[in-house]
Every structure is written in C-alpha cells, then in structure tokens.
C-alpha cells in the first residue's frame, strides 16, 4: 500500500531526526565535528537557546524543549497509527484547543506577562505536536478520504 509506505518513510525520517538531535550531547566528547554538523543542520529549524533546552549528560540537546515535545508527540502519533491501522479525523475545535495553549504561552511570555517553565513548554509543544502529526497522518493515510467522514458516512461509502 503506497500510503502506508509513505508514512513509514515519514516515521524513518522522524526517528533519524530524533536520534540526531538527542545524540548531539553524547557526541560532543567523542565526535565533536559530527556533533557540530548535526547541531548546524537541526539549528535551521530551532533557536537552540541552551537554557530553553533539555539536557543530557550535562549538555543541551540540539533543539529546544518545545520542539523536542513536538517531535516526541509526532512519534507517539505514528506508533498509535501503526498499532491501530487507521486514524480518524477529530472535530476541528479539538485541534484548536490543542494548539491554543502553545500560542498563548508564547504570546504571554513574549509580552513578559509571565515566564514560562520548561514543563509548560513541553506540555504545550506536545499538544501541538499531537495536532500537527495527527492531521498529517489523516491526510497521508488514504487518498479516498473515507477517514474524513463521520463513521456512518464512511460505512455508506465503503458499501457503495
């Protein structure tokens, strides 16, 4: 099945990406050039501010806490897809509810109304990651769009 193959490719790329940015602190002592190269590549998508990142072995990983949560949430969604075989679209307001905390957290922090914590960034980033990857997998899993229908409608389409 072509769609499943595409999702497997996305999963493989995501795994490589996660292994890449988490291995940077470990590679810093053994292979600093490789660690710097990975950090450079990953740094194109993230600010990499050290005090906003998670630490492994005393060194910051190559993306911030929020981005880490997004990618880990994506990994969880993909695992759920492989376990269940199909992911169904949720009502639109659920996606908004999952995305709004991250935007709110960002705006309030930039306006200096409050200083967010790493845990908050992890949670809000994770919720956004679930939304992003869930929508992507729904879009990628089929071209017949049966998954976009409600349960009853999808059944009628399958029958016809």
């Amino acid at each position: 099945m072509v769609q499943k193959k595409r999702i497997i490719i996305v999963f493989a790329v995501l795994n490589l990406w996660i292994i890449g940015f988490t291995s940077v602190p470990l590679l810093k002592t053994t292979a600093p050039t490789l660690a710097n190269s990975i950090s450079d590549v990953v740094g194109r998508t993230c600010h990499q501010i050290p005090n906003r990142s998670l630490y492994i072995d005393g060194s910051p990983i190559a993306v911030c806490a929020r981005c880490t949560a997004v990618y880990i949430a994506g990994w969880v969604v993909l695992i759920l897809y492989f376990l269940r075989g199909k992911i169904r679209l949720f009502p639109g307001y659920l996606y908004l509810l999952c995305t709004a905390p991250m935007i709110l957290d960002f705006i309030l922090e930039k306006m200096s109304i409050y200083h967010n914590l790493t845990a908050v960034r992890l949670i809000t980033g994770g919720l956004f990651g679930l939304t992003l990857f869930h929508l992507m997998i729904v879009s990628m899993q089929s071209d017949d769009d049966v998954s976009l229908h409600s349960r009853g409608q999808a059944w009628k389409i399958k029958e016809s």
């Binding site: 769609q3 194109r44 998508t45 993230c46 600010h47 501010i49 050290p50 005090n51 929020r66 981005c67 997004v70 679209l89 639109g92 991250m102 935007i103 960002f106 930039k110 980033g125 956004f128 992003l132 929508l135 992507m136 729904v138 879009s139 990628m140 071209d143 769009d145 976009l148 229908h149 409608q153």
Partner: protein, 162 residues
C-alpha cells in the same frame, strides 16, 4: 492539476511564508516550530482550491506539488525580503540575539563567540547564497506539511457541503 493554478497559488502562499519568515518581530512566530511557514503552505493550497471553477477533492499528489512549489517560491521571495530588510535595518537579527543573550542569566561563552563570528560573516556582505540554500531546504518541507494539513480541511468542508 493545472500549472497556472499551481503557480498562482504558490506565489500567494510563497509570499505569505516569506513575509512570516523574514519580517522583523513577526518572524518570531517561527519559534513555534516554523508555524509561519506551515501557514504559508496551507494558504497556498486554500488558494489553489479557491481558484478551481467547481469544488474538487484535493488529492495527495496535488497537495504535495502545491506545497513544494509554494516552498520553492517562498524561498526566493524570502531571500528578496531578507535583502530588503538587510538594506533597511542592517544585521538586526544579530543585534536582537545579542540583546537576548545579555538579558539571560547563564550565557555560555561560546554563544558570544558564535555571535561575533556571525557579525564578521555579515560584515563581509549579504550572504544571499547560504540564505537561499537554507530556505530552499526548509521552506518546501514545512510548506508541504502545511499543504497536507490544509488538504484535510478543504476535503472535509467539501464532503460536509455535499
């Protein structure tokens, strides 16, 4: 798929992505996992669907094509806008990063070194080649994500109308 429709949609989406990537202050939105670029890709596909003479289901290859072409257009627009802002404000991003670093409690010494190095590079002129190369990789990927997500909502709206 009609090429003219794809190009029109890609130009609109590309301009949106480029503005959200380069405009000072507004481009901070990309701290949220490049959400501005994702939005540009989504706008491209929404515009593509809107240009259709009658409502049609957007297939995966169409979303893929529109997303990637939007990103490619966006990359070139972003370099052009980056150059305009560089001419207007100079290396404002370095100044911004330096201000940010000064307001932090623990700033490792290497951050200062990186900022100095960047300042030296920028002083040697506008490095459009590396900016274009970077944009040509990042924008198509994130615009593709945006287009794939927009496809879900466009098709769902179409199904609901039917």
């Amino acid at each position: 798929m009609e090429n003219q429709r794809i190009i029109s949609a890609a130009i609109i989406g590309g301009i949106t992505a480029a503005v959200l990537t380069t405009m000072p202050v507004i481009n901070l939105i990309n701290c949220l996992c490049c959400i501005g670029v994702i939005f540009g890709g989504a706008i491209g596909l929404f515009y593509y669907a809107r240009l259709s003479p009658e409502p049609e289901v957007i297939t995966q290859p169409t979303a893929l094509t529109v997303g990637i072409v939007t990103g490619l257009f966006g990359a070139f627009f972003a370099v052009a806008l980056e150059w305009i802002f560089y001419e207007m404000f100079g290396p404002w991003q370095i100044e911004f990063a330096r201000d940010l670093a000064e307001n932090m409690d623990d700033v490792p010494a290497y951050v200062e070194d990186i900022l100095d190095e960047l300042e030296n590079q920028i002083a040697s002129g506008f490095n459009w080649g590396s900016i274009l190369l970077e944009n040509l990789i990042i924008l198509p990927v994130f615009c593709l994500v945006g287009a794939m997500i927009a496809r879900v909502f466009i098709n769902r709206n179409l199904i609901e109308k039917q």
